[in-house]
């Protein structure tokens, strides 16, 4: 498995956002799945996050205008859900499950190791912008604990050695 890195748009490029024809078409397609335009909000935000890497205020304004909502409403939704990034993320976001099954089967050791190896704590990013460490709640993969989600991919049944190999691979590919 090779996890795709996130390419986050630099803030000044998404200060104001105009959707291109591809985005327009995809938004229109999402829109027709629902009887209200508001209902397309979560999928459209996902689409934007795939495209820009994160949800900037400019993206919020553009989405709000497209779906006929107030920007405050859209921002309220964005900040409710933990997976929408409101700041440019690192290339690899390491989302370590810290809940019960993982916590008692090795997640603590993984976290300690990650903090030492990367020199960062939860919520922080390595200076080169490669890794960001995030503590998350149960990922629904407890049978293969401990689990780390890196960007879209699950890495399961981890131990320190395997984790090191994964990090080596991801950082080596830069």
């Amino acid at each position: 498995m090779s996890t795709r890195p996130i390419e986050a748009a630099p803030p000044r490029t998404v200060q104001t956002v105009t959707f291109d024809a591809t985005m327009d078409a995809r938004i229109a397609e999402l829109r027709q799945r629902y009887p209200t335009s508001r209902a397309a909000l979560l999928p459209v935000l996902w689409l934007c996050q795939e495209r820009y890497g994160w949800i900037s205020p400019g993206v919020i304004r553009a989405v709000a205008e497209r779906l006929g909502e107030s920007p405050a409403f859209v921002e309220g939704v964005v900040t409710f859900y933990t997976m929408y990034q409101t700041a440019p993320p690192a290339r690899y976001v390491l989302q370590v499950c810290t809940t019960l099954s993982c916590a008692w089967t090795g997640a603590r050791e993984l976290v300690a190791h990650l903090k030492e190896r990367l020199g960062i704590g939860f919520g922080e990013t390595t200076p080169d912008g490669t890794f960001q460490l995030v503590g998350v709640q149960c990922l629904g993969a407890c049978g293969r604990a401990p689990v780390i989600q890196i960007n879209d991919d699950y890495y399961e049944d981890l131990d320190v050695a395997r984790l090191d190999a994964i990090l080596d691979e991801l950082s080596g590919r830069r």
Partner: protein, 557 residues
């Protein structure tokens, strides 16, 4: 019509009434924070828990409709009381409890409810550090609203207001769980045209008004029912005042007109009521005005009226129905003068009534509909300029603020030709050049009725007798950047409401029928003779008693 029993009191209410309102009707108070009669019911705060016989779980007073035969226990239920105490403990666990420095104190639902629970063994088990929102403790979030997020109890009333009523959806919850806070989009300005209402609906001191906070403790204020002078919609208000200073307008419930809302334009007219530029009658001496006593002034104006070759009267849609009626009878019918009522369209304003319908303002005055109903000629700026053209006789200006045109150089030029008598409160070029100037007080020191654009004849009451000293902040507004009001008012001043001066002039001119002692008498006469007012009774133009309307502010005092 379901009939139910609440803490032993039987009560019959309209179908669909919730338990909070049913209990209110039965004289039992169910506490509430998130419930608001004109906003969607969300059941979030959980303070309104009551016991309903036969139901295993406690019921929400806000979300449970009254049903026939229901037996509800509020204070009589130990279980429900315990639950409400626990909710109070939860709410206060993270509340800063800074009532002494909170401007909401005295009209805070949280404070009121914790005071009313004083008898209980209420205590807190909290040993942790309180939640705070650094940087959000006192933040100006718009032109008028100051936020202190630490005090917020997450009732969502402000959010629902902007979504359901003003329709800007400008406020939102951000984040979630215990970190939830209220904010605008990306910190942009909360410039909702009705932003002040967010502070009204906020049950605590989380949202307060920049203009009024820390000016006067809520329990010192007295509230007089009145009508907003801002436009023809005629929103019902309370004038909140103390020692003859107006501090603020607050909405007074009227489902047919403004529910419990006010627009910011109308709300912030409050401070302008404190301006009183002219204190005594005066006439133009050689190059400067000379003060005069009322007796002298009335005699002189009476003489001018008797001797006038021609008479033109500029009335005003800011005048009450009674004043317009007296002016028409006296100057029009008796003295055969010409009367015009200038009407400006002004800014487009709108207001949402209790059925959720927008009412649109037709005119920038509170009583244009009354003028039309009395058959007076309404004119626009151009019409007014034609009306004033060429008359060398006597011109009466009953209100220089009747139309912006009156402040124009052209109007001054037209008026210079003849003799003018002007009634005025605030400094105005037309008044400054008048032959005779008679001081009038603000609506706070007057009494009468306005006819709203929807046709409702609405009474406003006198808050206090005309003030006698000049009060103005440095910029003329109630801005916190300016020195605040220095001292209470002295003795009542010399300004007299127009209706009183008109009936005195009627006496002076020997017109007995119009020499009346009160607006009520004028109204009664008008109701007898005018089709548009037929059948109306002064005393029955109700809604003036504060306790008759929904008002959660002013619980105390």
């Amino acid at each position: 019509m379901p009939k139910l029993t609440i803490d032993g009191h039987e009560v019959e209410v309209a179908a669909g009434t919730n338990l909070i309102e049913a209990a209110r009707a039965a004289g039992v108070a169910i506490p509430y924070f998130c419930y608001h009669p004109y906003l969607a019911v969300v059941g979030q705060c959980r303070i309104c828990m009551v016991e309903v016989a036969g139901q295993p779980r406690l019921a929400l007073g806000c979300a449970t409709p009254a049903a026939d035969g229901m037996v509800v226990k509020v204070e009589d239920s130990e279980r429900a009381r315990e639950a409400r105490e626990a909710v109070m403990e939860f709410l206060l666990a993270n509340h800063p409890l800074d009532c002494p420095v909170c401007d909401q104190a005295g009209e805070c639902l949280l404070q009121d409810h914790s005071m009313s629970e004083q008898g209980s063994k209420f205590t807190t088990h909290m040993a942790e550090t309180r939640r705070t929102f650094p940087g959000y403790e006192r933040r100006l979030i718009g032109p008028h609203v100051v936020q202190n997020q630490n005090r917020c109890i997450h009732c969502s009333r402000c959010i629902r207001f902007t979504r359901e009523i003003s329709e800007t959806a400008a406020l939102t919850y951000k984040s979630r769980g215990n970190s939830t806070f209220i904010d605008t989009f990306d910190g942009s300005s909360f410039d909702d045209p009705m932003s002040g209402c967010a502070t009204d609906v906020c049950p605590v001191g989380a949202l307060t008004l920049r203009e009024t906070r820390f000016r006067k403790r809520a329990w010192k204020l007295r509230s007089t029912p009145s009508v907003c002078p801002g436009c023809s919609i005629g929103c019902n208000i309370f004038i909140d005042h103390h020692e003859r200073v107006v501090y603020r307008f607050t909405p007074r419930e009227n489902p047919a007109i403004n529910a419990t809302w006010l627009c910011d334009h109308g709300r912030f007219l409050a401070e302008s009521l404190n301006e009183q530029a002219y204190l005594t009658p005066q006439h133009q001496g050689p190059g400067h005005p000379v003060p005069a006593a009322w007796g002298e002034a009335l005699a002189a104006v009476g003489a001018l009226l008797r001797g006038a070759a021609s008479l033109r009267v500029v009335a005003s849609a800011n005048m009450s129905n009674e004043e317009l009626f007296l002016a028409r009878e006296l100057f029009g019918r008796q003295l055969k003068g010409e009367i015009a009522v200038p009407v400006a369209a002004g800014e487009p304003r709108r207001m949402k009534n209790g059925r959720g319908e927008w009412l649109l303002a037709k005119d920038a005055h509170p009583n244009a509909a009354g003028a039309r109903r009395l058959g007076l000629d309404t004119v626009d700026g151009e019409g007014l300029s034609r009306f004033l053209y060429g008359g060398a006789g006597l011109t009466l200006i009953l209100d220089p603020e009747a139309h912006p045109f009156l402040a124009s150089p052209e109007a001054l030029r037209l008026l210079r030709v003849g003799t003018t008598v002007v009634w005025a409160r605030r400094s105005h070029p037309v008044a400054d050049g008048a032959t005779w100037l008679l001081p009038t007080p603000s609506i706070a020191s007057n009494e009468g009725t306005f006819t709203s654009s929807t046709g409702a004849v609405q009474r406003f009451a006198e808050a206090f007798a005309a003030p006698g000293t000049v009060h103005r902040t440095a910029t003329g507004g109630m801005s916190p950047d300016c020195p605040t009001i220095a001292s209470p008012w002295g003795a009542p001043g010399e300004a007299r409401p127009l209706w009183l001066v008109l009936s005195a002039l009627a006496r002076e001119l020997g017109t007995k029928t119009l020499d009346l002692a009160s607006p009520a008498e004028v109204f009664t006469l008008m109701a007898r003779s005018e089709k548009g007012f037929a059948g109306l009774v002064w005393e029955a133009l109700g809604g003036l008693a504060p306790q008759q309307s929904f008002r959660e502010r002013q619980h105390v005092g």
